[in-house]
């Protein structure tokens, strides 16, 4: 497993964990009463995603290095990495476009304004997960 695959895996795990945490918080009636409060909550949530991603990458790098008996190092991207990144970007862009359209329709049909930041957070997590999963799949088949 390469460093790029570890980073993609961390992105998936980090996004899923924080998304579940946000969803559980929302389900428990924890939605902020106004748009500003909700937006700040989501900015913090994105900060947590970044922190948890870094922690997962560090732990996974140590585990994979021990398992492979070879230090996992980040290598400079080559043409295959760029090709895979391009395709993953395309998948993420598609998911982002469809999700944004979904949020707009949801808003048109009466989504409460204070929930919009949560929806935007969900959209960004979905696109990020689509990007990372596409990378993981393409690194296996390509």
């Amino acid at each position: 497993m390469s460093m790029k695959e570890i980073s993609a895996l961390a992105m998936v795990v980090g996004s899923v964990v924080i998304s579940i945490w946000v969803a559980m918080d929302l389900n428990g009636g924890g939605a902020a009463p106004d748009v500003s409060g909700a937006a700040w909550d989501m900015i913090w949530a994105i900060g947590y995603v970044v922190v948890i991603n870094i922690i997962i990458v560090i732990i996974a790098t140590i585990i994979v290095s021990i398992a492979q008996r070879e230090e996992v190092k980040d290598e400079r991207s080559d043409e295959r990495d760029k090709l895979i990144n391009g395709r993953a970007m395309g998948a993420a862009y598609f998911v982002l476009s469809v999700s944004i359209l979904g949020v707009l329709f949801w808003q048109a049909f009466g989504l409460a304004p204070n929930l919009v930041p949560y929806a935007l957070f969900g959209v960004s997590m979905l696109a990020g997960v689509a990007f990372a999963i596409t990378q993981l799949v393409l690194y296996r088949v390509n």
Partner: protein
């Protein structure tokens, strides 16, 4: 034309053996790509660009056709 299944095959594993069991990492460095890319090329999962293909051939000191073959099934 173009509807037949075509495949790019290669003899990198054999050439590495004849080059004194050259490691994938050493070949990757000579070709200017990552070791994972060499693994993917060797396993036939990825067809490199013409430039990388020439660099791989040059690393072994053989013509391109000796490294890569284009076969129509």
């Amino acid at each position: 034309m173009g509807k037949d299944k075509a495949k790019v095959t290669n003899t990198i594993r054999t050439l590495r053996f004849h080059a004194g069991e050259m490691t994938q990492a050493a070949l990757a460095e000579k070709a200017g790509v990552t070791r994972q890319t060499i693994v993917a090329i060797e396993q036939g999962r990825y067809s490199p660009s013409l430039e990388v293909a020439f660099r791989i051939a040059r690393a072994f000191g053989v013509p391109l056709e000796q490294v890569f073959q284009y076969t129509e099934e």
